[in-house]
Symmetry: C2
């Protein structure tokens, strides 16, 4: 099916896709980007200005509406893919059929972002995008958006929630497509675009949305644009992701807050009980001591082991930059460690610290944990092991607030709440056709060798894509690694966005896996 | 020196103190209170309506001004005792000379209250006093203030910050004085009144204020109205208090928040490091494992040991009420345990839990600790032991944010901040003259035996009074033990206030210690 571009929205673009010429996309993308940096930046700023936490229904709908508008202007025939439940963030879908193409690739990014406390941002606000001359930790200062014709320094950082994670993915993909169209470069494959709206909430409706639109989403593979490039700054292709599940553990003290003088050292202190429980979960080297934690790990294949060995080591630089003297892991490298399941404390709270601290025995202490999983782990089984460990420490485990009877019957009480949306790890074999096509395309954009990683440390629900649609996934990140992803002061280095446009233009013109 | 009452303010009172008759104060107080409950309650509500956190300079001055007004109406010749530094909460002082009296007693209470988060209160607000028909945990509902002539149920609770701690002390003392005057009962001693304004901030200027007004504050003893009566509801005389010092420990992870997937189990997790550190400080039975923690404890005397043995045990009732199956202390009773130094976690924080939790490795984890001290302990020495323990766990200890160089030189970093205003424990011998006079007076108000406690679990800077002024102290609390002191939903049971008025009227007519 042929389509016409909107001449109104993109006056410099050719009028019809049939004018696309077969040629490498990366060079075309560079040329296009150089001529259009300010326009790209402005469109990005507009997208970043809309609050995008998955639980903020109004903000999410506004994001989805803008994405539809952006896709429509590009002739991508957009539509919202909804879940059956009302109020669920929709996926935004679009497509481009390439005449004669025998392979179809889905390009994935997500437009929702992590919740954040605006008070914790320094100088800028999460949904008021602002440029800095450098990372603020390195003395970068806020500067105005460039004027028409002003040179744009690629080392500038754009600060906003999702500037990296993952609206940078959306922009890289859509801008790569713009470049191909502008330069008359024909994609080598059919293009489908799938922008998810609740990835940071754990993708609780992704399976449902995919299942409802199975035919629409049929493809040879998904290319996932999410996560950071390698810490060395080199481009990276990632063949897997860790699984993830979040668990909140609440430990109980007295039913009401007590004066720590009158009752301290008699009433059980939940903060101390939680400390003891957490300390029991890992040894001093950071190895998880929960029974069976590493039992299911599927060993890496030959290609994966070789890629790991060839991966550049950036650990010493990272230690210097992050102010770390001794990492966990007893000497193992970061790339080795992310091929293992992990247990991490995301947060602690019990009564108050700082100015609001009072001389009390708190009533509860809470730990937010996240469990990362690797190939072989099952997220439900891993949580069961954790719960068994908590029980083995003497705790009575409940899923609800303990009743009076439970309180009086058990010396140690823990409420364990597992967040919905946990999922397993996924890994695409590095010697598969799609893996080789993607590596080749990304490698074509740069002179130095790209990094090939068997898995990303982070998580995406890629397993759900393979299980629902049968499609393998390969992840090609664009963000700088020091983007403060998931935290306050998230930012993207502009050069990473520019590089991302080239990468995705190359991917849209890759050697089709069906042709291998 | 003679003084005239203000006939305007207290029309029912006699015109001149010389009309006071020698007689027991408690019966007079009961009679007076029964006829004046609503008026007492209204005056109390007015006092409780003024925000009184020591750091809130404006609120504190308003409290002090009202106290001056209340004392002036009673003919107590009030004045503010100021520190040299401007902005420090003043003590409010007043006095009443009794003709022929050879003993002088200072009655102490404090009018400041603990900081509190109004959002955490249930149904009522800290400085909007409200009556409930019972504790809200037991289904008590909010009810309007009683109308003129309406019966007042003594089981009602008045909810407000400082309703117990310690404006109940102020009201008990001033109302006891009202009762004596109204009923023409002559005090047996000269009365001095000292209401402190920054006790909950650790009394950092108390010594200075006392030293500047040494002659004004000359006395035979101080009677301290603070803390709760015994958990059994029985009246209590307390001969000592624990010392107290607060320490905040901050443990460090990476310099910026990191994605827990990409860096989890490589970057050191400060929440986990803090958990391990805290767990090292106490054993499973709650005994502090810091080296030397119990070394300096001065053994109890014979009278104190006997009083402890005779103290009613309320532990089982407390356990039921507080939902506790197994207290700390390995079976020791609450009264035994408060005669030991303690280490308590008041609060924990690291990144976020709950709805704002994110998949990060936090940059810091903070624990607020309080150390209670008993006779023999020195607060500086006890903190030194704690710091030595933290060092012994491998931590580099600093008082400031760690520098980059410190971060890179030490695997474990802890910032230890000691709050100003720590002080030692104090204990007045139970066989001293003042101790015997006070016990006799309080015992005269009730039929059942009162509880005599060598020490309160809580802390007051009583050691500073003895060191600055040479005066012994005896504490006679009035609040109900379940008053949520230092926490949200603080309240007082009205009967405790009524009893407090009788107790203090009896104390103002005690057998003078000089006459023993």
């Amino acid at each position: 099916m042929k389509r016409s571009f909107s001449a109104v929205a993109f006056v410099i673009l050719v009028a019809c896709q049939s004018a696309f010429a077969q040629s490498g996309g990366a060079a075309a993308a560079r040329e296009y980007r150089r001529a259009n940096e300010l326009r790209i930046l402005r469109e990005f700023v507009r997208l970043l200005s809309i609050p995008n936490v998955a639980s903020d229904k109004e903000g999410i709908r506004k994001n989805a509406a803008l994405l539809v508008e952006m896709m429509r202007a590009r002739g991508l025939n957009p539509r919202l893919l909804e879940a059956t439940t009302e109020g669920v963030p929709p996926a935004v879908y679009g497509e481009w059929r390439t005449p004669g193409a025998r392979s179809t690739i889905v390009f994935y990014a997500h437009y929702d972002g992590q919740p954040t406390d605006p008070k914790k941002w320094t100088g800028t606000q999460p949904w008021e995008p602002a440029l800095r001359t450098a990372p603020f930790e390195k003395g970068g200062t806020i500067r105005p958006m460039p004027a028409e014709g002003e040179a744009i320094n690629p080392e500038w950082r754009l600060y906003a929630r999702s500037s990296s994670d993952d609206k940078a993915g959306v922009m890289s993909i859509l801008t790569a497509f713009d470049a191909l169209r502008a330069k008359n470069v024909q994609p080598s494959v059919n293009l489908k675009f799938f922008f998810e709206g609740e990835e940071e909430a754990g993708s609780p409706h992704l399976v449902e949305i995919m299942s409802r639109h199975k035919e629409l989403l049929a493809s040879d593979a998904w290319v996932i644009c999410d996560g950071p490039v390698h810490q060395s700054g080199r481009k990276q292709v990632v063949f897997g992701v860790r699984g993830d599940t979040n668990v909140e553990v609440t430990v109980y003290g007295p039913k009401r807050p007590l004066h720590s003088g009158h009752y301290g050292n008699w009433a059980p202190n939940p903060a101390m009980l939680l400390a003891r429980l957490l300390a029991s979960m890992k040894d001093e080297r950071g190895r998880v001591t929960v029974k069976g934690w590493y039992d299911d790990v599927e060993p890496l294949g030959e290609a994966e082991r070789r890629a790991l060995a060839e991966a550049p080591s950036y650990d010493e630089e990272l230690k210097r930059e992050l102010g770390i003297n001794r990492p966990e892991g007893g000497g193992a490298s970061l790339v080795e460690l992310i091929n293992q399941p992990s247990l991490n404390v995301n947060g602690l709270s019990s009564a108050e610290t700082g100015a609001l601290a009072r001389n009390v025995i708190p009533t509860t202490a809470v730990a937010a944990l996240d469990l990362r999983l690797v190939k072989g782990n099952d997220h439900r089984r891993q949580v069961e092991r954790l719960v068994a460990h908590i029980r083995a420490q003497g705790f009575y485990v409940t899923e609800a607030e303990p009743t009076d009877e439970e309180r009086l019957s058990h010396p140690l009480l823990a409420k364990v709440r597992v967040s919905p949306g946990g999922y397993n790890a996924e890994r695409t074999p590095m010697d598969s056709a799609i893996a080789r096509s993607v590596v080749e395309a990304v490698q074509s954009t740069v002179g130095q060798p790209i990094v090939r990683s068997p898995t990303l440390g982070g998580s995406l629900p890629l397993v759900l894509i393979r299980e629902s649609l049968g499609a393998p996934t390969v992840t090609v990140p664009v963000a700088n690694y020091d983007n403060n992803q998931h935290a306050e002061n998230e930012n993207i280095r502009l050069q990473n966005l520019w590089d991302g446009v080239e990468t995705y233009a190359a991917l849209m013109t890759m050697r089709p896996p069906a042709a291998r």
